[in-house]
Amino acid sequence: MQRYSGFGLVKHALGHHENWERQWRNPEPKKRYDVIIVGGGGHGLATAYYLAKEFGVKNVAVVEKGWLGGGNTARNTTIVRSNYLWDEAGRLYNHSLDLWKGLSQDLNYNVMFSQRGVLNLGHTLQDMRDIQRRVHANRLNGIDSEVVTPQQIKEIEPQLDISSRARYPIMGASWQKSAGVARHDAVAWGFARGADALGVDLLQNTEVTGFKIRDGKVLGVHTNRGDIEANTVGCVAAGNSGVLANMAGIKLPLESHPLQALVSEPLKPILNTVTMSNHVHGYISQSDKGDLVIGAGIDGYLGYGQRGSYPTIEHTLQAIVEMFPMFSRVRMNRQWGGIVDTCPDACPILSKTKVKGLYFNCGWGTGGFKATPGSGHVFAASLAKGEMHPIAAPFSIDRFHTGALIDEHGAAGVAH
């Protein structure tokens, strides 16, 4: 692998950028691997990378039906934070946040992780009570989090309307200073390049159409490019997880919904941080390129089309204009949708299944981008050892029968 550096950039500039090497190979599938990962989004690629790098499992294939990182990874609004309420979720997301901090160096790939902070606004007394409770829980778990007043909010984000004239006046917020955003594509590509360099085969345009299962054990997958064998298969397929599970005769408590986002024309720097509001239901940040990155809630119906309805876009923009009246005449450039796998308790599933050797990592719904490195890391550990990593263990499918749910609807809300 050609390492990237400032010096390399200058050298390649002199060569008119014509001699950059390809970032990864495009190999033919082998007959057999030690581990197959189904789904080449950020989570699948991170899993493969950590398997090869930290757990010595290098004979790995990532099987992706389209192109790498073309699913929700490419479609998300890149908010990274860890201020979740419950201990289990706090541990998982904070593990991820720790990995984000050194990720560019680790991957030798600039993932543009920018810790510009996240505000979660409160507009009612109940909002503020919930925020206080969550912030206290965060602090007990060592997660950086504080409650801020409208005046402090104004200092952090001067363009926000904190006046009492607003339809839903802002009463305060939670503020996680170490949160922020990252460059979604770079995350997928960085993990892909790192995994490939360690010997992982990235198989694009390869769709899993079924599983080979005998005596309750997984033996491999059927694909449109032939059968591939492995005794360990990890499915990391976001919105299509339920479809895959059904192929193996497993049911998951997931519902797949469209989730939309949109970006404006590029503007001069105007926003300092990420602002989210559960109550008026919208969130916004500004990308380094200058576009406002905007999102809100899911479309209410099931959908596998990667698009949603116009009323949802309209509601999203109403919320943004409520918080930032000055954006009312900004023109929107692009709009798109992803398919999010929503889980009843707004927490992911990282789990074994009744089929031996078949694992699922899914249910991240509207908020899994922030967890990409952490999820990949603990899932890789689980696949390598055949036992769920302690951070992953509480997220087993069993919780929907034992009742040990981890209810993060408050911390998730509109807040991805």
């Binding site: 769709e207 159409t209 079924g210 599983f211 059927h222 449109n224 299509n240 339920g242 479809v243 059904n246 192929m247 005769g249 049911k251 998951l252 408590p253 997931l254 519902e255 797949s256 209410g300 119906y301 099931l302 959908g303 596998y304 089309g305 309805s309 116009y310 009323p311 009843p344 929907f400 029968h401 034992t402 009742g403």
Partner: protein, 129 residues
């Protein structure tokens, strides 16, 4: 954007008048005292999530405020029929004609699987999995 026929108002109205309320025809366990954790969990949390034909409940929330059912393709978003509460769908994934027309693939065990990729003929052939 959906344009939905309410079987009570007997009119097509815009999507914004309605709310999707999840899978239709769910039955509460009839003998709660003798229902296992497994059965309760399934009833409360596990839903069909087909990539294909789905029967779902909607409410005409700013119209007549009544609940009714829709059969819809979750990939093309085509609404195939709407029918009042208490009635059964006339169009299902088990109907070969519908399956073919809607590009839906059904695996062993009756699950709908990959299907509904009408641009990719090969994957729409019925295969066992």
């Amino acid at each position: 954007m959906f344009y939905i026929f309410c079987p009570y108002c007997k009119e097509h109205r815009e999507e914004e008048e309605f709310h999707a309320r999840g899978q239709a025809h769910l039955m509460r366990p009839s003998d709660p005292d003798n229902t296992s954790d497994e059965e309760w969990g399934d009833y409360l949390f596990f839903r069909n999530n087909p990539r294909g034909i789905h029967h779902e409940m909607w409410v005409h929330s700013v119209g007549c405020r009544k609940f009714f059912n829709i059969t819809r393709n979750t990939v093309t978003y085509d609404i195939l029929e709407t029918y009042p509460m208490g009635e059964q769908p006339t169009i299902t994934a088990a109907t070969p004609d519908v399956r073919h027309e809607q590009g839906v693939q059904v695996a062993d065990g009756g699950w709908q699987t990959v299907g509904a990729r009408s641009e990719n003929k090969a994957l729409n052939e019925e295969t066992s999995s």
